[in-house]
Amino acid sequence: MISVKNLYKSFGDVMAVDDLSFEIKPGDVVGFLGPNGAGKSTTMKMLTGFLPQSSGEISIFDMSLSQHPIAIKKRIGYLPEGAPAYGDMTTLQFLNFIAQIRDYSGKEKQERIQDVIEKVELQDVLDKPIENLSKGFKRRVGLAQALLHDPQILILDEPTDGLDPNQKHQVRQLIQNLAKDKIVIISTHILEEVSAVCNRVMIIANGKLMFNGTPEELNRKSRYYGAITLRFSYKADTSELEELEGVAGMEVNPENGDITLFAEPDKQILHLVTALIQRCKLPVDSLMIEQGRLDEVFRDITQMEKAE
């Protein structure tokens, strides 16, 4: 369990992390979202014991990070931003080094390395110096290093940055396949990633925690959540749609004429809309129930501060 209380970090005059408090329990896969410079990486650096906090308390498995840094670091796997590694070593030498420093030796060490090589598919680059690898492979070497000791806490700073769609999918699969009693924290800019792998979302802006909940709850914040979008084959009279009971408003997309109907809070409008379409024989091509538009919610949440 990770528990963070009133965490602050300032660099000179800049407050990078401003009064963060949260708890993360085993089984949580947390997506850390936020604009660039919001304090995501700084927070992760403090959680992994790389940066000392200016004030506040971090405790992990009921141990204070500042008092038991080594015991805690043993249980954390960390992929720093940009996946740094020792470029002059080959992939195998590097993993061997990490395994040794993580206290593995002999047969167990070989098994660990073999296991992690298969997990992130590094077989083809074992004897190549890391500095000669492509960005995607470097990232995978970084992941392998973080996963090697099967840590209870996995902290990944932008794990899919620079990967192609197939590799992204692979990494997400990997995270989902981790045992269910682990803590995983990933930071990302990619919103779909959050709905794809996380069961918890934290949004940070200007060092402050702006949202902490499930992806579902985040979706609900969107005004598009539960709205119905209709596409017509040709222009038709749609005024009756807006007057339906339970419809709070209507939006017309000026580009393609799509109509989006917003429901009043806690009202179901789907059956009314479909009934109306049948009754008036509206030329509807497609009907879509919106799941909420995360990018919009993200913008709203992260820019709230500036607007005030």
């Binding site: 014991g49 790389f50 040794q100």
Partner: protein, 244 residues
């Protein structure tokens, strides 16, 4: 302790993977030979000793050791691997000691590889091999002190060139503080105590005794003290500003 060993192995291998160690050893062997024979007049002196060889070590180390030490921490900072290293279950002092020992071993290897000179004087005459051994040990410890300064400067910046220049300057101060040029400036007005103190900071003063075969505890102790002090300073610097 095993952590230090693992880190040491990695650092040592890295010196040979990037050709730093080969370049250092080659240049050191060539230059020390050139200085001993052409400038020091190893043959012309007609004496079976290696004084002509050892006399130039402080000046060789002055440039070569900072060049070798400059990457130790700067590169970790630049590539970001310091973040990886410092989030592994090790403590900072273990990393520091490992980095120091790895580089010191390379320096020792370079010294060992000058053995043809030792063979030469033994072939030509009957030198006192005890003196030569003492001088080798003294030279190695002095190289260690240069190295600690270089590592400390490397801990300060992610720019290797800055680390190099800073450590050459600091090393230079330590070398010349015992030379007549510096001491003459103080001679006319400063009390003897001050002059002695300045002179006692000099690598030259302490190394001179050892290159003549006198291994005094205070000379070895001096180099050890300088080494530990600078490494400790480097440790504090890394702990304070590892993220910059």
């Amino acid at each position: 302790m095993s952590n230090v060993l693992i880190l040491l192995k990695r650092e040592f291998a890295s010196f040979f993977a990037t050709p730093v160690a080969y370049v250092f050893i080659a240049i050191f062997l060539i230059l020390s030979g050139v200085f001993a024979f052409f400038v020091g007049g190893l043959y012309e002196r007609g004496q079976a000793d290696l004084l002509a060889f050892f006399n130039f070590h402080p000046w060789l180390y002055l440039f070569l050791v900072p060049a070798m030490a400059m990457r130790t921490w700067s590169e970790e900072r630049k590539s970001g691997s310091i973040e990886l290293l410092m989030t592994l279950p090790i403590s900072t002092w273990q990393a520091m000691i490992a980095k120091y020992l790895a580089a010191w071993l390379v320096l020792g290897l370079a010294l060992v590889l000058t053995f043809p000179l030792w063979l030469t004087v033994n072939y030509l005459g009957n030198p006192d091999n005890g003196i030569i051994l003492a001088a080798y040990i003294g030279s190695w410890f002095m190289a260690g002190a240069f190295l600690a300064i270089g590592i400390c400067m490397s801990a300060m910046t992610k720019n290797q060139v800055i680390a190099f220049i800073l450590s050459v300057v600091v090393c230079f101060l330590f070398v010349v503080s015992g030379s007549n040029i510096v001491l003459d400036i103080f001679k006319n007005w400063a009390p003897n105590l001050v002059i002695d103190t300045i002179a006692s900071f000099s690598f030259l003063t302490h190394f001179e005794a050892m290159s003549k075969g006198v291994i005094a505890l205070n000379d070895i102790g001096y180099f050890l003290l300088v080494t530990l002090t600078w490494l400790f300073a480097g440790l504090i610097i890394i702990d304070q500003k590892k993220a910059d």
